[in-house]
Symmetry: C2
Subunit: 184 residues, 2 copies
């Protein structure tokens, strides 16, 4: 099995340089100058100023017809031209977590069109979702987006649409850190 556990390490050095740190909602976290993403284990990382752990899981809401479309268009993380990134750490409310699968799916797609609206931005924006709630971490989710500098506006539009969706009413805390890749 491939590794499913990753650490987002914020500190004074790393592959990604912080260009902006926005506390969108809720309690802030300490500002750092760099973030590194490293394959990890369940052991607590001692590196950096902070380290948030996230796990890659199976998909929770996507249905087959959607996945087929997504797989056809979504780019991989690590494209050479994708030197911009956004790290979004977030919590959803107790109300969200008390919902059943059908209720969450209803809000996720039928009311918020999370997959549908992402679709038009996906050819240019790579994304990866890490789950943290199940392992008692500080945040529920860590989301990572990568795009070329010329696609910054597309990313802002995607984010704006998501934040205006019904689903986002359940977001109780959100930290948005923008980054640029350090040339090797």
């Amino acid at each position: 099995m491939n590794n499913t556990i990753f650490d987002f390490i914020g500190g004074n050095a790393g592959e990604w340089k912080v260009t902006d740190h926005i506390t969108v909602k809720g309690k802030p976290i300490e500002e750092v100058s760099h973030i590194n993403i490293v394959p990890s284990t369940l052991e607590k990382s001692k590196e950096g100023i902070w380290a948030y752990k996230g796990i890659i899981s199976n998909t929770r809401y996507v249905e087959r017809n959607e996945l087929t479309k997504l797989q056809a268009i979504q780019p991989e993380i690590g494209r050479k031209e994708a030197t911009c990134a956004s790290f979004i750490a977030m919590d959803k409310s107790d109300e969200w977590w008390a919902m059943t699968q059908d209720e969450r799916r209803e809000i996720f797609e039928k009311k918020s069109h999370h997959i549908g609206l992402s679709m038009k931005y996906l050819p240019t924006i790579a994304r990866k979702l890490y789950h943290s709630r199940d392992i008692s971490e500080e945040f529920d989710f860590l989301a990572w987006f990568e795009y070329a500098p010329s696609d910054t506006e597309a990313y802002e539009n995607l984010l704006k649409e998501l934040r205006n969706s019904t689903e986002w009413n359940y977001v109780t805390r959100e930290i948005d850190i923008r980054l640029t890749k350090i040339k090797n």
Copy 2:
């Protein structure tokens, strides 16, 4: 937030005494005389002969109408009369994990009636599911069932029905350990 992480520790002492150890399918694990279940952290346990970690997650398949019925009838773990237990460690196939939510739900409930058939046994059998796959543990799931000695036959019937279901075609490894609670 409540703790979501637990260790199942197999060793020479513990709250539950092993009465039977059945390798239903796939690679066996070492036989132990006792199992203890302890609230844990992400750190690897050094206790016992083996220790498997599982996490409590939000429900993945249950829908609201089902949850309402389940909540009305399902007993809690830890009833005084429930001195029998079954610990089932299992893996599902890559094919299962590559499926989307709608495909897994289709097999889970429409074809296998996992919730529906469990319903008739639930008033007497308490159960709890721990997820392990997302944290790169040896098994995908750890399931724990508790029942009174007089409900042993009901438990066997539940298990027989589940094992005969379409869902169980995706089970690639299954260890079933039976236990009895040690009187304090």
